[in-house]
């Protein structure tokens, strides 16, 4: 963590003499109601916010790839059963499913990651399963089967790597969506808890002072916006790189 290099303040230390200071030379993004430097908190908060989003997407994608890959290759009743379970999960407005899980597991970053990953894996499972169904008919998969390769090895060493060109851009774009969802959780009090400097929690806290200290809400929101935009553009670029036809649209 390199934050001390760019800020001399502590993200948690309280200074009631400097509460709600408007952005100035001393505090470039101002201070919060406890006199904490907002720039410092945003810098530390990046670890929590980005880390949460990354964890959600990686767990959901890993589960989705494994389940979708096996279901697509196995076919038959197993594929049917997995797809029906996906239907059920996808039929929930995701935030409600995640809210129930977060309520069951308690508030905090850990339960938020678990809740969002549980509600997101079916998206990846569906996508991977669809690609596996097409790839498993290819000649090189038939060849692997004919030399007696174990089905699990075929799925994980031959088929799944072929899906990555489509999955990786989706994962990249998913990080931005996860960042919005996780910060939304913190905003309603189910995610990161104060005084943790997580961006959504900061917006939630700042919303109480929006009319006299609007910068307290605006700045963390701009950070989320720019981060999501970055991941979205990166995902687009990766998608165009793997599918050059998209460049012409």
């Amino acid at each position: 963590m390199q934050v001390p290099l760019v800020s001399r303040y502590d993200p948690l230390s309280v200074d009631m003499g400097a509460k709600l200071v408007f952005p100035c030379k001393e505090h470039i993004f101002g201070t919060d109601e406890m006199g904490r430097d907002i720039f410092t908190r945003l810098a530390y908060g990046a670890w929590y916010s980005m880390g949460t989003a990354l964890a959600v997407v990686l767990i959901a994608a890993a589960a989705g790839i494994v389940i979708g890959g096996i279901a697509g290759y196995a076919g038959g009743w197993f594929d049917n059963a997995v797809m029906r379970v996906c239907d059920i999960f996808l039929a929930f407005p995701q935030i409600f499913l995640a809210m129930i899980i977060a309520a069951a597991a308690g508030a905090g970053i850990g339960p938020t990651i678990f809740a969002l990953a549980v509600s997101w894996w079916p998206n990846y499972a569906r996508m991977v399963r669809g690609m596996v169904i097409v790839i498993k008919e290819k000649l090189y998969v038939e060849s692997a089967k004919s030399i007696g390769m174990h089905p699990v090895r075929i799925v994980f060493t031959i088929i799944i790597p072929q899906t990555m060109s489509m999955v990786v851009p989706q994962i990249t774009m998913g990080i931005g969506n996860a960042l919005i969802a996780a910060s939304g959780f913190s905003f309603i009090g189910l995610g990161a808890q104060m005084p943790m400097p997580e961006w959504g929690a900061m917006i939630s806290q700042g919303s109480r002072f929006i009319f006299n200290a609007p910068y307290y809400v605006m700045i963390p929101g701009i950070f989320i916006f720019l981060s999501v935009l970055g991941f979205s553009l990166l995902g687009d670029a990766l998608q165009e790189a793997t599918n050059p036809e998209l460049k012409n649209i």
Binding site: I88, P93, A104, S232
Partner: protein, 335 residues
């Protein structure tokens, strides 16, 4: 069509049963003791046990689930531990507020996405296209709840153009409930000033939802229409001298719209979920803010009830989307 509908409804029943099962299991894994929550913080251990028996929480989980399902079939979702009122009564009191917000946002969002997406496609690479593309990428990246706060700050606090929240100002009598939608009910009463007042209160929450969710659908509409405009049938139609507005409006647009409708159905879920945050910000007395209260106070049956209702609405919207495919696209009808 009848065969398609029967098949689709049969699969929906399966999904709804699955949803109730997951909701029930998740709400019964809550770490807080619902019997303690229902009995109140001052209750003795004996009173808590009495409450547990009274609520049927001492029965095996599968029996509780069967009881819950039997109740659901009779539209009985039990009683809120907090208010002691039937969950169904509590939900129906707030249902119309959320639905008015959601459906109005969905309609405006769909029309706006179609309009902007089509304009961008038809004026490809012009300044208008660049502006719309910038708008749609921005809309996809903005957290809707943050956008709501920004709009509230600018349009309520700074410009004083719209109210900060609630469905009507304090002390204003709501219109007689026919549909529960204030816009429709005030029109039915012939009260134009009440209609305008309701519309002003709806403006900021609806704008937050529309701007926060329409980016991806706008982008998809643009992409789909551009792809359709490159198809051979469009070239043939143009070469036959068919006017451009007919080629685009009656042929290309019709084919481009199906995938956009799928996206609309999926976005509806996000928007229904988004109402939780938007209702909190605008003190909107709907199901979203009620769900949040219920989760924070561990009101088990209310959480289960609202989630089930929201999931069923989401499913019904997607069923409507599926039916609209059949009506719009003859290829789907024939398959």
């Amino acid at each position: 069509m009848a065969k398609f509908l029967t098949k689709r409804i049969a699969s929906l029943i399966f999904v709804i049963i699955g949803i109730t099962f997951i909701v029930f299991i998740a709400t019964h894994c809550l770490p807080a003791d619902p019997a303690r929550a229902a009995a109140g913080p001052a209750a003795s251990a004996e009173q808590v046990e009495q409450k547990r028996t009274e609520l049927g929480l001492d029965k095996p989980v599968y029996e509780q689930y069967l009881d819950y399902m039997k109740g659901l079939l009779k539209l009985d979702m039990g009683k809120s531990y907090k208010s002691k009122q039937p969950v169904m009564t509590e939900i129906s009191g707030r249902f119309a507020a959320t639905m008015e917000l959601t459906f109005l946002s969905l309609i405006i969002f769909f029309v706006l996405a179609l309009l902007l997406g089509s304009m961008a496609a038809l004026k490809r690479n012009s300044w208008l296209d660049q502006v719309i593309r910038f708008f749609s990428v921005g809309s996809m990246a903005v957290p809707p709840y943050w956008l709501a706060l920004v709009l509230q700050y600018i349009l309520y606090y700074k410009c004083q153009l719209f109210p900060a929240g609630y469905r009507l100002p304090a002390g204003t009598a709501p219109p007689d409930a026919v549909t529960g939608f204030y816009l429709a009910d005030s029109l039915l009463m012939g009260d134009v000033s009440l209609f305008l007042l309701s519309a002003r209160h709806l403006f900021l929450p609806v704008l937050s939802l529309v701007l926060g969710y329409c980016g991806i659908t706008t982008r998809m509409m643009r992409t789909q229409l551009l792809q359709e405009l490159r198809q051979d049938y469009v070239r043939t139609a143009r070469s036959k001298g068919i006017p451009e507005h007919v080629v685009v409006g009656r042929h290309a647009m019709k084919n481009a719209i199906s995938p956009v409708l799928t996206m609309l159905g999926m976005q509806a879920g996000g928007m229904i979920g988004g109402t939780v945050l938007i209702e909190k910000i605008f003190s909107w007395p709907g199901l979203g803010s009620y769900a949040l209260e219920a989760i924070l106070s561990m009101d088990l049956l209310v959480i289960a009830g609202i989630t089930t209702v929201m999931a069923v609405i989401f499913i019904l919207i997607n069923l409507a989307v599926d039916i609209s495919y059949v009506l719009i696209d003859s290829r789907v009808r024939l398959s």
